[in-house]
Symmetry: C2
Subunit: 305 residues, 2 copies
């Protein structure tokens, strides 16, 4: 069963907006919660999501513009007040640690849980996380300061055994199971081949999610996000302001839709809307002319990948 | 007419609470808006108050615990995005400027409006602001780090002339008006004294407001806040936890009420409630046993001083 999901905690751009919160997302995938960017107020958005703050062990910060990290310091302070013990891993551009440390210094806060900082510095794609189920890579973006997107890729899973059918082939022993799970056929002593399909159930397709904010229209990223299941791509402006957006290191609805189409993504979520737009549904009307499966997210709703 | 008022933007203490916001207040007095402390999310609370962010020219920070200043950096960034030109004056402990500058450095933000930092360093009371209508003094508090409260005192106003009565005394010339406004009687050439009360209307009483957060029970402050109109005093815990509160540099409902009673204040507003309390009205039930005119504030309501 697929139970990986994305919760958009905020999708506002830098100027504040009455109803919306700045950028932050919570991704649940392969039994881990990943907090992606962390604008002001993220902590109270997480409270509203009913997901326990302390379940988060990984925080990824795309870049050091305030609407993507001003909410981080209060989450780290809360962990301290709640006497967190578990390690927290933070992926962020160099500079974040300096910013956090100077805050802690003046408030005389001693952080007593381990924080592991992974500095992002490369302009090329890097693998930044791997465990038995999941890999995470950066996506180098083009913004006004050093910025990374992130792509989360589930690893190919072993197939599930069809025990009922396996029992019919007496020669198969427990020591053969791993090979069968890996997809190999079984060869009987008499030379007969038992096809793997007969012995296993199909394993679920590994899922993938890519987060791309903030960036100008940058087709270079397409090669990193081919055939993914879900793409979040920023769309600060409507396409009328394409040139304005480009100069400011941002994308439009049409740019985001183009990236989704050219990368053959399944579903596109837009966000990072400028506060000049009252009706954000217009972003969808523009984008679907290029890429049909486009979503304007609802805050705190779970989007299954 | 008295149109000085206080808006409580948030009164939560450091651990986050679903419904409440951390400490911040907006004081309108003598035609100026003063923002007092600035926890995370203050900017969106100001948006909700319908008071234009750009009307604020003075920000006072009591101390450098995050729940009192984490919201400041995003307000300063918003001013930059909105192309503020006016000077902003910030009163704060040393250290705040370092914290702000390191944020601005990494986001490559150049602040183009003038920010005047007034560093608060003294352990004694200091006058930090004076214009023709108003004076502001610090109130040295006792917390776990260097902390100031603030007291705002209107200056005594000139009396208003009773023009109808003045016209009856032909000898009074325009050059005499200032003396009369200042409260002097008028002496006619024949030696008769015209009492000032006949020539003027009573001037409104100068108002005063004191902000005391965060602090343990500290009767030393009473001498600074004698006979004021409105006192905000922190009340993190109920009185059962007096000793616990004291050790943590905080006050209880009863401590706050005692300070209000002993200083002969007119009205007390409590705040900075610990998130362990669901029903914050209990703070009032305790406090009114000592000081009757006690208020549990409603967020965003205007409290006229």
């Amino acid at each position: 069963m697929n139970n990986s999901y994305l919760i958009i905690l905020g999708f506002n751009s830098s100027l504040p907006n009455y109803n919306y919160h700045p950028t932050s997302q919570l991704l649940f995938i392969k039994n881990n919660y990943f907090l992606i960017d962390c604008g002001e107020g993220t902590q109270s958005q997480i409270l509203k999501s009913k997901i326990k703050l302390n379940k988060i062990d990984y925080i990824l910060i795309s870049h050091l513009h305030g609407d993507h990290y001003f909410g981080l310091i209060s989450i780290l302070s809360t962990y301290q007040l709640l006497r967190r013990q578990k390690q927290l891993t933070i992926y962020a551009p160099r500079g974040l640690k300096q910013i956090l440390n100077i805050n802690f210094k003046w408030s005389r806060t001693k952080i007593s849980y381990p924080i592991k900082f992974i500095y992002l510095t490369s302009l090329k794609q890097k693998k930044i996380f791997e465990n038995k189920d999941l890999k995470i890579y950066t996506i180098p973006l083009k913004h006004t300061i050093y910025t990374n997107g992130f792509i989360f890729k589930e690893k190919k899973k072993l197939k599930n055994l069809n025990i009922k059918n396996i029992k019919m082939i007496k020669e198969i022993k427990i020591k053969d199971y791993l090979k069968i799970k890996q997809g190999y056929n079984f060869k009987k002593k008499n030379g007969h081949i038992i096809p793997n399909n007969f012995l296993t159930y199909k394993s679920p397709k590994p899922l993938s999610y890519a987060y791309c904010s903030d960036t100008k229209y940058y087709p270079n990223i397409i090669k990193y996000i081919k055939n993914i299941d879900l793409l979040y791509h920023e769309s600060t402006y409507l396409h009328k302001f394409y040139y304005y957006a480009y100069l400011r290191g941002h994308s439009t609805s049409i740019s985001a839709a183009k990236i989704a189409m050219l990368s053959n993504t399944k579903k596109l979520i837009l966000g990072h809307f400028s506060n000049r737009y009252i009706n954000i549904n217009i972003f969808k009307y523009e984008a679907i002319t290029i890429f049909k499966n486009t979503i304007i997210p609802k805050i705190l709703k779970k989007y299954y990948i």
